[in-house]
């Protein structure tokens, strides 16, 4: 049954139909399966005009990836900033516009960090993840929260949703992972069907790593003679984290559902710091607590009016201490709170024309105590309003078009100036010349603002309360072709994009002494090409070969001021060439066991660590080869569960990362781990 359902989904997604499934449609899809397993009620107008890059389900689990950040390396147009190790900060930068232009969504609701505007994607485990999607621009679906129209790039993380076959009431998963650097990572998940309509998911995880990985610095003279060659062990890179989640899903009718999600994350970690001459360890420690509760309610009336209400409360705490007695002994604490509500509506005027209207409000508060500088109980507040209007229409099967406008009004207390509300448009078009062939020509234009964060505005001695938001303008065209047959499914795409970021918020030294401030100074022109090819070959003897290739070429040129020495140079840490290749071979035995082998290669080309593209800032390319092998066995039908034909599965996975042990750095002076191993054993029923 499971396989059949899977097949239906695959067919539905790939059969050259106009159907594809955004978050909401998947909800209804699951719901429909749950009820009668057949009927699919998604309609053409609500789907994404431009299909996102997606990693999901088993494919996601097969990758050599521990966190969401690791998985995002397999998308094109994405640059990951990784400070190394399990606990090192990992952020992504989509199409070179800067990591703060990327919005991150957890089950459909944005995760905010009003303090620094960055979300550490290394903290999100893949264990509980059903799907990761990356949208360039916005999710091109007009039925969404107003705020979702506001980002330049969007990452959607969707956690596993429970679905039960008839007679099933409970699913349990247990997982234990061990690995190099004393990695210990147990994970437990339980799904319970409380009533036919109401289900609950619980997921909890603990992760520990001492972060003590060896790294090596070797330099040679031009003659080839070794200048120095030293191996040391990374210190103060340990991490201790607990994540616990609770979800309630209630599908109370054919059209309506609500979901509530509670999330809690605690961690303590060392901040390993830069390795510089004569400094091999640092004394910074960080404690985090991140909690939120979010709820979504959605329903539809008369098959014409859909409405969705989202509410969220988040409460975050960060405590930073620098124990290094050689430096300023900082002891800072930050409390952040966020309240968010959203109401989105969509009306179907005709079968080929939808309109939507959404309004979001968010309140952010930051309180900080900084012991050494004597700042205590300093508080900052922000009120944000978003209002969006959007429309989507189809011209037969040939053309689909969406247009949206978003008005953003953000007021910061403590700010002497009020930025007038900003209006940003977005237009997304998809053209299919031959409806019989799944070939589409897509294009979009979009403007979006990146608003200054609390740090940009008020950071002690550095903030500048007069900042304007930073503007990104994106132009993108792409060609996408999908095909499938009994033997093969393929999805190939080629995109070209031109982005321009103006009023870029950068740190700039001001007047006297060595002091920085944030300024709207900087302009970047980005030209890029993304190419991808995902293919699955269904071979004889139940073998499946999967390949996933991505390649990105981009120039991201600083065009701020012709008098700068770096005018026309590639901006820091953006390679011209980058790409990844994944090849996996899977075999299914007759009784349904699976065995597989996965190889992945990630390449990031040469970059510069600073604005000037000179030899002293040159950073070598890096590339890693990762291998994994796995097996999944159906142990037996457990006695008690025979009645409902539930099976017990055992899964084992071994990964070898950085197989050739390359000594590389993503960020200069932050060495990455050499070869390392992870083993996972999982049981589920």
């Amino acid at each position: 049954m499971a396989n059949r359902r899977f097949l239906i989904v695959i067919l539905a997604l790939c059969a050259g139909s106009v159907y594809a499934f955004s978050d909401t449609e998947l909800d209804s899809l699951y719901r429909d399966f749950r009820i009668d397993e057949v009927e699919i009620t998604a309609r053409a107008l609500t789907k994404d005009v431009i299909v996102p890059q997606t990693l999901k389900g088993e494919e996601l689990q097969r990758l050599n990836a521990l966190s969401v950040a690791d998985a995002l390396r397999y998308f094109s147009g994405v640059q990951l900033k990784d400070y190394g190790g399990v606990g090192g900060i990992k952020t992504i930068n989509v199409r070179s516009m800067g990591s703060q232009h990327t919005a991150v969504y957890y089950n459909g609701v944005q995760i905010g960090n009003a303090q620094n505007g960055q979300v550490d994607l290394g903290r999100f485990s893949l264990d509980n993840m059903e799907e990761i999607q990356l949208y360039n621009g916005q999710k091109s679906d007009i039925f969404q929260s107003a705020r979702e129209f506001g980002a330049a790039g969007s990452v959607y993380m969707t956690t596993r949703k429970p679905y039960f076959k008839e007679n099933e009431r409970v699913h349990v998963r247990g997982k234990m992972r061990f690995g190099s650097f004393a990695l210990a990572n147990p994970n437990v998940g339980v799904d319970v069907k409380l009533t036919d309509a109401l289900s609950m998911t619980i997921d909890a995880e603990y992760i520990y790593s001492d972060g003590k990985y060896p790294f090596r610095y070797k330099r040679v003279l031009p003659s080839g003679e070794t200048a120095y060659d030293t191996t040391a062990v990374r210190q103060n890179g340990d991490v201790n984290a607990v994540r616990a989640e609770l979800g309630l899903h209630h599908y109370y009718s054919n059209t309506g559902f609500w979901r509530v999600h509670g999330y809690n994350y605690w961690s303590e970690r060392g901040v390993p710091g830069a390795i510089v001459n004569n400094v091999w360890r640092n004394g910074e420690r960080l404690w985090d607590r991140s909690s939120f509760v979010q709820g979504i309610w959605q329903d539809e009336w008369f098959r014409r009016w859909s409405t969705r209400v989202v509410a969220k409360y988040a409460n975050d705490y960060t405590h930073y201490i620098n124990y290094d007695q050689r430096l300023l002994p900082s002891d800072n604490q930050y409390w952040q709170q966020e309240v968010y509500v959203s109401w989105a509506n969509k009306v179907q005027l005709f079968r080929w024309w939808d309109v939507s209207l959404a309004y979001d409000y968010q309140f952010n508060a930051l309180r900080k105590d900084e012991k050494i500088t004597g700042v205590t109980d300093e508080r900052f507040y922000r009120h944000s309003h978003w209002l969006s209007a959007a429309t989507a229409f189809n011209i037969k099967e040939y053309l689909r078009l969406q247009a949206s406008v978003l008005m953003t009004a953000i007021t910061n207390h403590h700010s002497p100036i009020t930025n007038s509300p900003k209006v940003t448009p977005g237009v997304f078009v998809s053209f299919r010349p031959y409806p019989a062939i799944d070939l589409s020509l897509n294009a979009f234009y979009k403007q979006s603002y990146r608003y200054p964060t609390f740090n940009d505005l008020y950071y002690t001695d550095l903030g500048n309360a007069n900042l304007r938001p930073e503007l990104a303008r994106q132009h993108s065209v792409s060609l996408e072709y999908k095909a499938n047959s009994q033997w093969l499914t393929a999805n190939v795409a080629l995109s070209y994009y031109y982005n321009r970021v103006t009023d870029k918020i950068i740190a700039y030294p001001k007047g006297q002494q060595f002091r920085w401030t944030m300024l709207n100074l900087g302009e970047v022109k980005i030209n890029g090409v993304d190419a991808k090819a995902d293919m699955s070959f269904f071979l004889p003897l139940r073998f499946v070969l999967r390949t996933r290739l991505n390649y990105t070429y981009q120039t991201a040129i600083d065009v701020t001021n012709p008098n700068d020495t770096y005018f026309g140079h590639q901006i820091p840490y953006i390679p011209r060439h980058s790409g990844s290749a994944v090849v996996g071979l899977e075999w299914e035995s007759k009784r349904g066991d699976h065995y597989g082998f996965n190889y992945s290669f990630i390449y990031v080309g040469e970059r510069y660590s600073q604005q000037e593209n000179i030899i002293y800032n040159y950073v070598q390319p890096w590339y890693t080869h990762d291998l994994s092998m796995y097996g999944e066995w159906c142990l037996a039908n457990s006695r008690e569960l025979i009645a409902n034909s539930q099976k017990v599965w055992l899964k084992a996975n071994i990964e070898i990362n950085n197989l050739l042990g390359q000594d590389y750095e993503v960020i200069q002076n932050y060495p990455m781990p050499k070869q390392n191993v992870r083993c996972t054993i999982a049981v589920k029923y």
Partner: protein, 639 residues
């Protein structure tokens, strides 16, 4: 069938994609061995000066990009990352955040703040050793001791006070430590005391505002003098006053900021200049200051503390940052946006920019040296030849006759003795520093040497610099204060100038009016003839004896009055401080001129020591006595 052709289409299409991807992959460049950062030389000027200049570029914290660049002023070549090729085996290069660089004796010292060390190098910047000091900031030197301020002491204190460490430069070991105020920055030595500014830079809004005074004998803090909020720089001027640059509360807007330059004299009397000074460099009697708020270079007289106009214009700089005023030129850097290359500008004092060079990130600290080095083809091996300085390196004796510049050039300070006065002469003259030493009245002398014997070769061998000049429009008359040169060979190999002296026979040697055995006694009690312009004692204050007698030759009077001006006849050859320095031949001497006591020529292959004494005994009411001055000496064969 239709289906099959579709599959074929698909296959060919995917094959094409694969090929394209493979092509893209082949464009990928591979990772090679990481080669050390090169030293890159760039010719930036055709102007020729002597010596060199080190530029310590700070680099941003965490970037490990502290970079030591070197400018060869003789060849006009600028070398970026000079340290790198001299020390390719230094693990992780020079380090993180360069904060100070100075020369002392034959060594170069650099503070690398975030690498928590003082890097010790030879004058070519080859690594000798390092001194581990946490969060070290700035340096000062005295009597072969290095003093380093540091934001933290060897034991961190809850009050966050810093320390000053004393290091023996011979052993590079820390010998003593004294706690001072909050976040001590620059420091200077004056009168056996160390003055260090306590900035309190870590304590935003509660800056420190004091100067700690440390007695160098006991190495105890004897007092904390309040000066102004957030003092970061302290320099000593020609009048023995301290210039302290207080930055004020940086959280305040520039308009409301209480910055100041506080000038402290030796009675702790304070004078306040309402000037923002982020960098300061004192040359002669002028203090040059970078006012970052105004974005300009300003100059103040150290005599009367008035602002002087300066034609040097730096208002077009993005962020003027580092500053060094030398007798020949003023060097000032532009740090640009602090995260990209800066620029070093060289100005002459007439305001003309002579040349400029691209530096590393945040060029903050400059150090003038004598050495002129070039990149040897194989940068990894030390130069096969030991390098000697062409300039005089050692002063053995300095005994001026009573005179109006005695105790001033060089400056006598309480506690100085004959030896420390010699060291002061070295500071003025070694490495072509170009400082002026006065020999006082007739018979006053100085004895100096090089770090190698000077060969007696074809033509002139040694140039000795003075301050003579021609009267305008004439090469026959001018300011000439002739001194006689004696040379000596270290016959007993004890390294001391206690061997036979030979006079270099000059043009008036055989003049009947030249008295060859003249002598004069100077008496402390006789120190009454004071010129209104020079009111310090004329008797060498470091002498314990109350009288001393000098002997030698005395030349006939050379002064004449031309249109009311007292000038001297310029002598033909063979005397120090007789012709202008730019006349190399006229200021140079040939060892072959040496004669013994009876005037017979002697043949010397080389010499070790040189003595110069004032050979004229003439005093005038307005201009005081004629006194030989010297600025340095050069072995002409080393050039």
């Amino acid at each position: 069938m239709h289906n099959r052709s579709k599959i074929l289409n698909l296959l060919s299409f995917s094959a094409a994609v694969f090929v394209l991807t493979a092509l893209a992959v082949s464009l990928f460049s591979c990772r090679g061995e990481e080669v050390i950062y090169p030293t890159i030389g760039t010719h930036v000027t055709d102007e020729v000066q002597n010596g060199g200049l080190y530029i310590l570029c700070e680099g941003n914290m965490g970037s490990n990009k502290a970079r030591l660049d070197y400018m060869n002023l003789k060849t006009g070549d600028y070398y970026s990352n000079w340290y790198g090729s001299r020390n390719p085996k230094q693990l992780k290069e020079l380090g993180d955040v360069g904060n100070d660089i100075q020369q002392y004796g034959g060594r170069l010292y650099a503070v690398i703040n975030c690498s928590h060390k003082v890097e010790v190098m030879d004058l070519q910047a080859r690594h000798i050793g390092q001194i581990e000091i946490s969060n070290c900031r700035y340096m000062a030197f005295k009597n072969d001791k290095l003093y380093v301020s540091a934001y933290v002491g060897s034991v961190a204190t809850p009050e966050l006070v810093g320390s000053v460490f004393e290091i023996d430069t011979a052993t590079l070991q820390i010998t003593r430590e004294v706690k001072v105020g909050h976040q001590p920055d620059e420091l200077v030595v004056m009168d056996d005391k160390l003055y260090v500014v306590n900035s309190g830079g870590y304590l935003m809004n509660q800056y420190d505002s004091t100067v700690s005074v440390i007695d160098l004998q006991t190495f105890q803090e004897i007092e904390q003098i309040p000066v102004g909020l957030n003092p970061t720089r302290i320099r000593k001027d020609s009048q023995n006053r301290l210039w302290i640059c207080c930055q004020g509360n940086l959280s305040e807007s520039e308009a409301n900021r209480d910055y100041a330059v506080v000038i402290l004299d030796n009675t702790n009397r304070k004078t306040l200049l309402s000037v923002q000074a982020s960098a300061i460099s004192i040359q002669g009697s002028t203090a040059y200051i970078i006012d970052q708020i105004a974005g300009s270079l300003r100059a103040f007289s150290t005599i009367d503390l008035t602002e002087q106009p300066t034609p040097i214009d730096i208002t077009a700089f993005e962020h003027p940052y580092g500053l060094l005023a030398t007798p020949q030129a003023l060097y000032v850097t532009d740090a640009k946006n602090y995260v990209s290359s800066g620029v070093l500008h060289c100005f002459s004092y007439d305001g003309v920019e002579r040349w400029r060079a691209h530096t590393g990130d945040i060029p903050g600290h400059l150090c003038r040296v004598t050495g002129e080095y070039t990149l040897s083809p194989d940068t990894t091996k030390p130069d096969p030849q030991p390098t000697h300085s062409p300039y005089l390196t050692r002063v053995y004796e300095y005994l001026p006759a009573m005179g109006q510049f005695v105790n001033e050039l060089p400056k006598y300070e309480e506690g100085d003795d004959a030896q420390s006065m010699c060291r002061k002469c070295e500071v003025s003259m070694t490495n072509n520093a170009g400082g002026l030493i006065s020999l006082g009245g007739w018979g006053g002398y100085i004895t100096f040497g090089f770090d190698h014997p000077v060969q007696n070769k074809e033509g002139r061998d040694i140039q000795i610099l003075g301050n003579a000049f021609y009267m305008s429009g004439s090469t026959e008359y001018g300011s000439s204060e002739p001194g006689i040169v004696l040379v000596s060979l270290d016959e007993n190999h004890n390294g001391l100038p206690d061997d036979t002296w030979y006079e270099l026979k000059a043009c008036l040697y055989d003049d009947p009016q030249t008295q060859h055995s003249y002598s004069r006694t100077y008496i402390r009690a006789g120190d009454t003839l004071q010129n209104p312009f020079h009111k310090q004692p004329y008797y060498p204050q470091w002498l314990t004896a109350d009288e001393y007698t000098l002997t030698g030759a005395k030349l006939p009077p050379q002064s004449v009055t031309i249109s009311g001006q007292t000038v001297q006849r310029i002598l033909e050859y063979g005397y120090v401080d007789n012709k202008p320095n730019k006349d190399t031949e006229g200021t140079s001497f040939d060892i072959s001129w040496a004669v013994d006591e009876s005037g017979n020529p002697v043949t010397l292959d080389s010499i070790h020591f040189v003595r110069v004494y004032n050979a004229v005994d003439e005093t005038f009411e307005q201009t005081g006595e004629l006194s030989t001055e010297i600025r340095g000496a050069i072995d002409l064969h080393m050039q």
